[in-house]
Structures are given as structure tokens and as C-alpha cells.
């Protein structure tokens, strides 16, 4: 089969870009709900702050796995 068009360059960069969509939306949802709940009931801020940070870190882990695995799958040398 003839090649009509070629996309060259790093595919892992495209992969990371796609992988960053989900965690981006996730972190936005977490902070949005924290801000909303604090706006409705400011006394709850003390109770929900630990959940805020835990949730942020858990969702951010996926985004960072995207960065790290970009290097793992491209250069072949794992961290």
C-alpha cells in the first residue's frame, strides 16, 4: 500500500496530551465541589479540607503517571 500521509515525531507526546484530559477535568471537579460546599456552609471547610487534598493527589497521580510513562515508553529507560 502506498503511503499518502505520514505523521512523524513523538507519539508519546500526543499520548500524554490525551492522558492529561481526564485528570484535568477530575481536579477541576474536585476543587469546584470544595468551593461550592464551602460557599454553602463555611463551617464545613475544616472537615472537607483533608478530602480535598487526598482527592487531588489521587487524581493527580494519573496525570503524573502519564508524564512518567511517556518517558518509559519512548526512550526505553525506566525511572
Amino acid at each position: 500500500m502506498e503511503t499518502f500521509a505520514v505523521v512523524s515525531g513523538s507519539l508519546s507526546a500526543v499520548g500524554y496530551g490525551l492522558a492529561a484530559i481526564g485528570p484535568g477535568i477530575g481536579v477541576g471537579l474536585i476543587f469546584a465541589s470544595y468551593i461550592q460546599s464551602t460557599a454553602r456552609q463555611p463551617e464545613s471547610a475544616r472537615i472537607t479540607t483533608p478530602f480535598l487534598w487526598i482527592g487531588f493527589a489521587v487524581v493527580e497521580a494519573l496525570a503524573l503517571l502519564g508524564i512518567a510513562f511517556g518517558f518509559v515508553f519512548s526512550s526505553g529507560t525506566p525511572g
Binding site: P50, W53, I54, F56, A57, V58, E60, A61, L64, L65, I67, A68, F71, S75, T77, P78, G79
Partner: protein, 260 residues
């Protein structure tokens, strides 16, 4: 500003090779690197700090004693008591030690001259995650008995026909994903943080050494971003050590929980 000041123009873009530093003393063997040295420095620092702070404890604390007590108070009250409950106090020493250890190990990522954290090699977070993993399984087995613990851990309260789906999910989530994500989360944060700082710092040098005179001022912007991201990195450092400890205590609480 660079890790290796002898090499002024390090190659840009930075690669994973930046994380494998040469031996500190040439000929001493590959094991003596920045990472092993600063792990030992961390241990020495923490032992000396807490010993000295509590050498002559007074009722009205001195400044060092107050700092040490605040750190332990944070680990005891905010982490152990809130997450595990009153019986969690006996874990407070380990959780506090874990918190300060990871905090100091992470902190090397922004100290000028060191600028890399031993936690950016998967080995160190992996061991800490394995300790947490063995810990919560051991505690659950010791409290409930071997069979009972795995029964309550693997079978959530759900109708019997859902079990064939739920048991593999619970097995994967509790016994495979928990230690893996604990380690990977800490490692990936430190790895990515160091990589980002490298990109902006080395990128500044690459822009500075560009041929065109119009591009050279952009190097200042790049270095400004490096400064801003260093502050962000500080937030990530504290947050990741907090999250590791809080998740460990949450798993302990789950293992010690009485069945519904």
C-alpha cells in the same frame, strides 16, 4: 542553577539520563551517588533533630521542642486519631516518622546544589509502599484472623450474584493497586517535578545560547517560570508526603474496621 556546573550547556531537552548521576567519588563504586548519600543524611538529620529537641523537655517548651512537638502532634492528632480513631494513637510514631522522612527526602528537590530527590528513583517509594502494604495486611490478619480478614476484604456487602464481578475488582483494588499507586504516586510526582524544573532551567540556557538576538530575552521568562515552579514544587512536596501518610492510615483503618 545547574546540577553539574562544569557542563555549562547541558543538552536540551533533558532526558531520563539526567536521573542517573555518576558516583560521587570517582572510583568509589556505583553505589555512592547523591541518592544514597542524601538518604543517609536524611536519617541522620531526623535522628539528631528529634533527640536534641527532646533532650531536656520543659513544661514551657523551648522553640526546638515546640517545633518537634508540633510535628508529632500533627501526626498524632490530625493523621492518626482522625483517620484511624482512638486506637490509632499507637501508630502515631510510625506515621509521624514516615511523614517527616518523606518530607525531608522530597525537600532535596528544591534545595540549590542538590536539586533532586532520592524519591525520584522508584526504589525508595517502592520500599515505603511495601512497608505500608505488609503493615495493613498484617494488622488485618492479626485482628480478624487469616480467613476472616480476606473474606471481609474481598467480599463487600452486596447480593451474591454480584460477587463474581466484585471479588476480582476488590482483589485488584486492595491488594495490587494500593501498594502500586502509593509508590507510583510519590515517584511520579518527584520525577515529573524534577523534569519540569530541568526543562525550564536548561531551556533558559538553550534560549540564552540561541543565535538570534531576539530570542535571548526569552531565557529570562524561562528562568522566571523555573522560580514559580519551584514554589509549586514546594507545595507538591508537602502535599505528597501528607497524602502518602494519610492514605497509609486510611488503609490501616480499613484493615482494623469491624465488619458491618
Amino acid at each position: 542553577m545547574l546540577e553539574r556546573p562544569a557542563v555549562l550547556a547541558a543538552e536540551f531537552p533533558p532526558s531520563v539520563e539526567e536521573f542517573f548521576t555518576p558516583s560521587l567519588i570517582a572510583g568509589a563504586g556505583d553505589w555512592l551517588t547523591k541518592f544514597t548519600l542524601y538518604t543517609w543524611v536524611t536519617v541522620a538529620l531526623l535522628i539528631i533533630f528529634f533527640l536534641v529537641a527532646y533532650r531536656n523537655p520543659k513544661l514551657v517548651p523551648t522553640k526546638t521542642q515546640w517545633i518537634a512537638e508540633s510535628v508529632y502532634g500533627f501526626g498524632r492528632n490530625t493523621v492518626a486519631k482522625d483517620m484511624i480513631g482512638p486506637e490509632g494513637i499507637r501508630f502515631a510514631p510510625y506515621l509521624t516518622t514516615l511523614f517527616v522522612f518523606i518530607l525531608v527526602m522530597n525537600f532535596y528537590a528544591i534545595v540549590p546544589g542538590i536539586q533532586i530527590s532520592p524519591n525520584s528513583h522508584i526504589a525508595f517509594p517502592a520500599i515505603l509502599a511495601v512497608i505500608s502494604y505488609v503493615m495493613f495486611i498484617w494488622l488485618g490478619v492479626r485482628k480478624h484472623g487469616f480467613g476472616k480478614y480476606f473474606k471481609t476484604a474481598l467480599m463487600p456487602p452486596a447480593p451474591w450474584f454480584m460477587m463474581p464481578i466484585l471479588i476480582p475488582i476488590e482483589l485488584f483494588s486492595t491488594f495490587i493497586a494500593r501498594p502500586a499507586t502509593l509508590a507510583l504516586r510519590l515517584f511520579a510526582n518527584m520525577f515529573a517535578g524534577h523534569m519540569i524544573l530541568l526543562v525550564f532551567t536548561l531551556g533558559g540556557f538553550a534560549l540564552f545560547n540561541a543565535d538570534s538576538l531576539w530570542i535571548k530575552p526569552l531565557s529570562l521568562l524561562s528562568w522566571l517560570m523555573a522560580v514559580v515552579l519551584t514554589f509549586l514544587e514546594f507545595l507538591i512536596i508537602v502535599l505528597q508526603s501528607y497524602v502518602f501518610v494519610v492514605l497509609t492510615s486510611s488503609y490501616i483503618q480499613g484493615a482494623l474496621a469491624d465488619e458491618h
